[in-house]
């Protein structure tokens, strides 16, 4: 008899179900995002399930293909994102998850590069620059996390945040959370840092040349990404499920609001700002950890 307290439920069944639900949640979030954005702009906006209509429609379209290579990488991109989401849900090593998520971006970049198209090329270049921007911050946050909890394992982080042991990570790493919020727009591809897919400059960047099914696959990958990024943020800071979901919602709303009150910045501005502000936040937080001695060697 399996009860709700059975570790199997939480270790295997729950992650598996979430992995299947992830694109649906991600899609719905994007739908909510579009609706909210529309409301903020005084529009009615599309229905919340619009992203699914879009994807389904794309699967019913003809494929116009440039070559095989970029299709291979698109599928690889999707699979890698799914894989990293799975690793995240199944509580693998955080460092490996971060790198796997980075690998998905590498695949996207290679996909963009391998079509010899003007906008794909520029978009891939920008995608790389974006990676250059957010990955250090992300890794540093992971490192800070390890410094406080003494492990890269998610299980350890979670057991660490149990209130019985010590205070939630949120109290020790508040600025790291802010740094994550700072790179959130890059990962969710939202203004002010949505430069790789800057519609008004380079069409859709690396995604420009995809049609039909493969565009649909890339879109699904994006659903997973949204889920991944929010789950990643929710992962850290508090043990309480309600507060954790609240934090995810906060991050999501934050990204929507920021998207709506900012213009898109240029690449150089993005790199400068994220490096300066992000590194500053992390260094201050690090100093705080070191001074208060809340770290484990």
């Amino acid at each position: 008899m399996i009860t709700l307290d059975d570790p199997i439920i939480w270790k295997i069944a729950f992650p598996a179900v979430m992995l299947i639900l992830a694109p649906i949640i991600g899609g719905l979030l994007i739908g909510i995002d579009r609706k909210l954005t529309a409301r903020l702009q005084n529009r009615a906006g599309p229905p919340i399930v619009q992203p699914f209509y879009d994807v389904l429609k794309l699967f019913g379209k003809e494929d116009k293909i440039v070559n095989k290579t970029y299709l291979v990488f698109a599928v690889a991109y999707l699979l890698t994102v799914v894989l990293s989401t799975g690793l995240l849900l199944f509580h693998y090593d955080l460092l490996v998850i971060t790198f796997m998520f980075g690998l998905s971006f590498i695949f996207l970049v290679l996909a963009g590069y391998s079509v010899r198209s003007q906008f794909s090329y520029v978009g891939s270049n920008r995608e790389l620059l974006q990676m250059l921007t957010y990955e250090p911050i992300l890794l540093l946050v992971v490192f800070l996390d390890r410094l406080v909890t003494g492990s890269f394992q998610i299980d350890a982080i979670w057991s660490f945040t149990e209130p019985a042991k010590t205070e939630p990570l949120l109290y020790t790493l508040p600025l790291a959370l802010l740094a994550l919020f700072l790179i959130l727009p890059i990962q969710l591809r939202k203004s002010p840092y949505d430069i790789a897919e800057a519609h008004q400059e380079i069409a859709q960047g690396p995604v420009t040349e995809y049609t039909g099914k493969f565009l649909g696959l890339v879109t699904i990958a994006h659903f997973y990404e949204v889920f991944f990024v929010l789950w990643f943020i929710g992962l850290y800071f508090v043990q309480n499920w309600a507060v954790r979901i609240g934090l995810m919602a906060l991050a999501f709303l934050f990204s929507i609001v920021i998207d709506n009150v900012t213009a898109r910045l240029r690449v150089d501005q993005m790199i400068r700002q994220v490096y300066i502000i992000g590194l500053l936040l992390i260094i201050v937080n690090l100093a705080y950890i070191l001074i208060t001695g809340k770290w484990i060697a």
């Binding site: 440039v66 070559n67 095989k68 590498i106 079509v115 198209s117 410094l147």
Partner: protein
């Protein structure tokens, strides 16, 4: 099997075959000599692996009469320096002349005044580290030899080329096994000579210039090394590396003005020697200059021989530094390594010449290895050895690929390599595999970086740990940048581009295929490698619980399974490759705002921002400053 026999197989046989190939007429005969040599070398190295660790003492050689090896080596050593003097004089290169004279003086001082009596000791040590190194040198070296059969066809200096290549391999093997420091010094200078001769292979203006630069920088390193040896003999009273572990350090009267902590000084000198050999930051220019040499030479220098000697030395002395309390020295080595890692990656970002990119990336990865030896924990040294192996395989492969690509398109510029996959699918796919193996999980370099990251997280002083983490993160990201850009260039095809029938030169392509397979095999065997071939001195202790649990690499903070991820990686790429079919009817041109014109793509190397001319003028002084700090750290 007899260790001595194996040793002579790995050291003397290449030299012998080299001489044979030099003497026999005709390319075909030379070819067979080379192939035979490669075979013997590979088999010998595998036998050494099979045979396991042992210590050997070689005192004399019997060829009719008994010759003391030490004397021969000392004689050869002086001869070598005279050769350097000759070249310095010939090229009017006064730096070389001066340094060679200085080195001669120091060597004479060492032999005449410092060297203790003729006490016997272990002259060659075959331990796990040297076995790993020997495997790298012999296996990858052999493949490069095979490859150069195809590559050097028609070259007019091919006889001397093969001779030097093979001597180089033998010399390198000897260097790896040498335990007697004076012998080690001879082999060390031997690699300098071989690389010098190989770099000036084409005998034209740029090669001569580059070779002279390589020579004087390496002579500088030689001086540092000989200083280190002199000091070791003075302070530790031994000339055997293996005896240093148990040696008692005493400050000799002549050096009594130095503080007590200066017993670590010889290792600082040896580290500087290693830096020059590995071309770390202030000395990087010789390695980038060496790109004028034929590509197999570059491959040899970068992957299996020359530069590895430097980091090998660092790994060798790392436990000694730990024993004799050189924490500060280690920290500086970390900084120098990390500095090279990050900034050479940044420099590589601004390059278009594929060989220069590879050169900078080599320096950057050697920096990472040096950094690991600086962190100097069990995990870090493991990371260093792992990186050494994986880097050698991937980098060797990439250099050979570049050589082949140069043969196909006649250019080393990565801009010219656009859409190569349509022209030469095999070599392109292999190159892309090589590139991905240097940046992406789960390949070897990633395993190494992961270990380095883990070990940097445990670095004893948290402040320096942060600096190390910073270097690792940014260096890795920069590497990802330039490698993926290059890979993208290779893959960028026009729609419906058809391939002309490619010409296959199997001498060149078989090594490529073997090395590419080697990348996958090496990842698959990672865990075995870590359990079987990493045996570190007791000073490091053992990682609690061990590094490998089942198929999973595990550190104190986390773990992952390379094999599982390798399989996942292959599956992720194979599924689409097998499933996707592209019908001819659905081919379309790319979106070009409706004009229907094919775009040119390229550029974007940020030369104005991070070009060599911009960065190096700041980086070189900083590198020199770091070296100064290194000595200060020892003396203060």
């Amino acid at each position: 099997m007899d260790g001595l026999l194996l040793l002579s197989l790995t050291v003397l046989v290449p030299v012998l075959f080299g001489i044979i190939s030099y003497l026999v007429p005709g390319y075909n005969l030379k070819k067979y000599a080379v192939i035979l040599c490669a075979l013997v070398l590979s088999v010998a190295s595998l036998l050494i692996l099979y045979n396991g660790p042992q210590n050997l003492t070689v005192e004399s050689i019997n060829i009719g009469m008994s010759l003391p090896v030490s004397t021969i080596i000392i004689a050869l050593d002086f001869l070598l320096l005279l050769v350097f003097l000759y070249f310095g004089y010939k090229d009017r290169e006064y730096k070389v002349l001066g340094l060679a004279v200085l080195q001669l003086a120091l060597l004479a001082y060492l032999e005449l005044f410092v060297a203790g009596g003729e006490e016997a000791g272990i002259t060659f040590v075959i331990d796990d580290l040297s076995i790993v190194m020997c495997l790298i040198v012999s296996l990858i070296g052999s493949l490069i030899l095979l490859y150069s059969i195809g590559y050097m066809k028609g070259d007019k200096n091919v006889s001397s080329f093969f001779l030097i290549m093979m001597v180089f391999l033998g010399d390198m093997n000897a260097l790896i096994f040498a335990n007697d420091l004076t012998w080690l010094f001879f082999f060390w200078e031997g690699t300098t000579l071989c690389s010098f001769l190989l770099i000036r292979h084409y005998r034209d203006e740029p090669s001569i210039k580059a070779s002279d630069r390589a020579l004087w920088m390496n002579l500088l390193g030689g001086i540092a090394l000989v200083c280190g040896i002199i000091l070791i003999e003075m302070m530790y009273n031994t000339r055997f590396l293996s005896e240093l572990f148990t040696a008692q350090a005493t400050m000799p009267g002549a050096l009594s003005f130095l503080p007590a902590a200066a017993i670590i000084l010889p290792f600082a000198f040896m580290a500087v020697g290693a830096f020059t050999k590995s071309a770390l930051m202030p000395f990087n220019s010789w390695l980038t200059g060496a790109m004028v040499a034929p590509t197999p030479v570059s491959a040899l220098l970068h992957s299996s021989t020359m530069v590895n000697a430097g980091v090998y030395m660092l790994i060798r002395i790392a436990p000694l530094i730990l024993i004799f309390g050189g924490g500060l020295l280690s920290t500086v080595i970390t900084i120098v390594g990390g500095f090279s890692f990050m900034f050479c990656a940044l420099l590589a970002l601004s390059q278009t010449d594929s060989k220069r990119i590879l050169a900078y990336s080599t320096i950057s990865y050697l920096g990472l290895i040096a950094m690991c030896t600086g962190i100097n924990t069990w995990l870090a040294i493991t990371a260093a050895v792992a990186l050494l192996v994986f880097h050698a395989v991937s980098k060797g492969l990439l250099f050979l690929c570049v050589g082949e690509i140069t043969h196909i398109i006649g250019s080393r510029d990565i801009e010219q390599m656009q859409g190569l996959i349509a022209k030469a699918p095999l070599v392109t796919v292999i190159t892309v595999i090589g590139l991905i193996s240097l940046m992406a999980p789960p390949f070897g370099i990633f395993v190494g970086k992961w270990l380095a990251f883990q070990s940097a997280s445990t670095f004893t002083q948290i402040g320096w740990s942060l600096v190390a983490i910073f270097f690792i993160i940014f260096g890795s990201i920069f590497s990802v940048f330039y490698y993926s850009r290059w890979a993208g260039k290779l893959l960028a095809t026009k729609p419906a581009e058809t391939a002309p029938p490619a010409h296959h030169d199997w001498y060149m392509e078989i090594p490529l295929i073997i090395l590419a397979a080697g990348i996958f095999v090496s990842v698959a065997l990672t865990t075995i490698f870590f359990t079987q071939l990493i045996d570190l001195p007791d000073i490091y202790g053992q990682e609690p619980g061990g590094l490998v649990v089942g198929e999973v690499l595990r550190s104190a903070f986390g773990g992952f399974s390379p094999l599982m991820f390798l399989i996942l990686f292959i599956v992720i790429l194979l599924i689409p490759i097998l499933i996707i079919r592209v019908p001819k009817t659905s081919l379309t041109p790319t979106y070009s705002c409706g004009t229907g014109k094919e775009p040119d793509i390229g550029g974007g190397y940020f030369e104005t921002l991070i070009g060599e001319s911009k960065l190096l003028k700041y980086l070189n002084p900083i590198g020199i400053l770091l070296l100064a700090i290194l000595f200060l750290a020892v003396l203060l």
